[in-house]
């Protein structure tokens, strides 16, 4: 069993949480931009939470399912349709044979994630299935999907599909993402070089809005705003950086490092978006306006643990209910 790419999207590639343990060799982790979505998409099809999923941007791929498959979508709303019928996200779907998944419209968010029950058959490297497009390894041949690519599934399941007048069946189970994403200002922790900003710039950081420019991708988001300044020029010695670090560029504009960030950097780090809010940041796109609020390390950790526990609840609820629902499905 497999999917076939009828039309490639602008950037569709496979990711799990990332490849950690090798940054001392300069190997960047390249995890999914929105790790909450991968966990939800996996929970909804009874997968291991870190099974690699397909991360798609808009315009996304048009995908042919030749045989029935149990899938879930989570993350952005790109008006997913199967044979032109609208498909809900955050719920398991049995897609019928000979149907086409197509995304019509970027309604909300920046990237959508597709999971398949049992996972996709991909190339692991250093214990992760995430695509590293720089080194060209991991995922599907280390690259984004192209037209005519066929991606196999790890497991073969038989789903008896009798009623083929509809192109899919929705399972009566859904995950609520309310509370997992942050509305309004993104929470940040003051970075190592926050204190080097002028007092005005420190205030600007939390008072003004920043626009995400068109220069944004998995490596980083360039922001536009009135420029920020350091109180004196600083000779920064290169040091490790992480996803969410907010760097101050020489022109006074900010750059937020994202999932494909290089392992080290030499620009001042004025802030870091907290771990819990990286997923909200990941769903922002060109022209979106963002703002920041400073929180304490304790508050940041609390936000992360809340999100973590919420995800565990969703995973547990899915485990409890899915087996029954899938068995029922296979009997009908």
């Amino acid at each position: 069993m497999s999917i076939k790419i009828i039309k490639a999207g602008i950037s569709d590639a496979f990711f799990d949480e990332g490849r950690f343990g090798h940054q001392q060799s300069g190997i960047n982790p390249t995890g999914a931009m929105d790790t909450v979505s991968i966990k939800i998409a996996n929970a909804l099809v009874n997968n291991f939470y870190n099974e690699a999923v397909l991360e798609m941007h808009f315009p996304a791929a048009t995908i042919l399912f030749e045989k029935p498959a149990l899938v879930a979508l989570s993350g952005a709303n790109f008006s997913a349709t199967v044979n032109d019928k609208i498909l809900p996200i955050n719920t398991p779907i049995l897609i019928h044979q000979q149907t086409v998944l197509h995304f019509k419209n970027p309604v909300e968010g920046a990237r959508v994630y597709l999971s398949i029950r049992g996972g996709f058959a991909l190339q692991p490297w250093l214990n992760s299935y995430s695509t590293n497009s720089l080194i060209k390894v991991g995922g599907f041949n280390g690259r984004a999907l192209q037209k005519d690519d066929i991606v196999s599934f790890n497991q073969q399941y038989d789903y008896p599909v009798n009623n083929t007048s509809k192109p899919f069946k929705i399972l009566p189970l859904s995950a609520s993402t309310v509370g997992l994403y942050k509305q309004g200002a993104l929470r940040i922790i003051a970075g190592p070089h926050f204190k080097n900003l002028t007092t005005d710039s420190q205030q600007q950081l939390v008072l003004q809005s920043f626009t995400i420019t068109n220069d944004n991708n998995r490596m980083g988001y360039r922001l536009k705003s009135s420029p920020l300044q350091l109180s004196k020029t600083q000779n920064i010695i290169s040091s490790a950086v992480t996803y969410g670090c907010v760097q101050l560029l020489p022109n006074g504009q900010l750059l937020i490092l994202m999932a494909d960030h290089q392992t080290t950097g030499g620009y001042p780090i004025v802030a870091k978006v907290i771990a819990a809010d990286l997923v909200s940041l990941a769903q922002k796109k060109s022209s979106d306006s963002i703002s920041f609020q400073i929180v304490t390390p304790a508050a940041a950790e609390e936000a992360y643990m809340l999100q973590h526990r919420h995800l565990l609840q969703i995973q547990n609820a899915c485990k409890l209910q899915l087996n029954d629902r899938i068995n029922f499905l296979c009997r009908s």
Binding site: F20, G21, H22, Q23, Q24, S25, G26, I27, N28, P29, W125, L126, N132, L134, I135, V137, I189, G191, P192, I237, S238, S239, A240, T242, G244, C245, Q262, T263, T264, I269, K272, V273, I274, A275, P297, A298, A300, E301, Y304, M305, H308
Partner: protein
Amino acid sequence: MATGFTINPLGDDALIIEFGDEINVETNQRVIALQQYLKINIIEGIIDIIPAYTTLTIVYNISVIKKLSRDQIAFKWLQKTLISILQKQLIIQKNESRKLSIPVCYHPSLAPDIEWLADQHQLTTDEVISLHSSTIYQVYMLGFLPGFPYMATVNQKLATPRKSTPRKIVAAGSVGIAGNQTGIYPFASPGGWQLIGKTPISIFDINEQQPALFQPGDVVNFYPITLEEFNHLQEE
């Protein structure tokens, strides 16, 4: 701070241990000694340990550390744990450095900036080659690209700033100078270093358990080879 250090948060899921504010071998040895110690004496919840010139960054999983830290915030618990490790600093000795000799062809056809650089410093290209290859370098860190080694310290007579306009493509294996650092590009990549040579050996291999040839703490020297030797070695 010859013996001191500071430990500060880098956001909520990492922290930075800083051992000094100047680039020198002694400070970097302390960074690497702690990295080596933590690789053996594993603290559950730490997911990456990244050495740089003067800092060691620890990336951690908040939920795993919180199981250990209980009421304390994860950062504070980890900070305390690291302080107590560092206070036993007599125990942390850096392993003996590995020594690597790297063949480099300095022929202008492979070294697009060597003649310009020689000119800038009023040297002949032979003098550039001699100065570059007679220095012993320390690998301070890897970064920028997978497997890219930052080595120092280049002879003062050769130290040159990066190009003001980086090249769109630098060939894999290119050996360059930026400031008083020297390095090797593991892949073709955009880059701003001054290219003074090329190595025929691969410094990053995805099929190896340890894909990067270099590690922080390695001691490196370059030795000149001819264009014929370069072509021969590259074919292997």
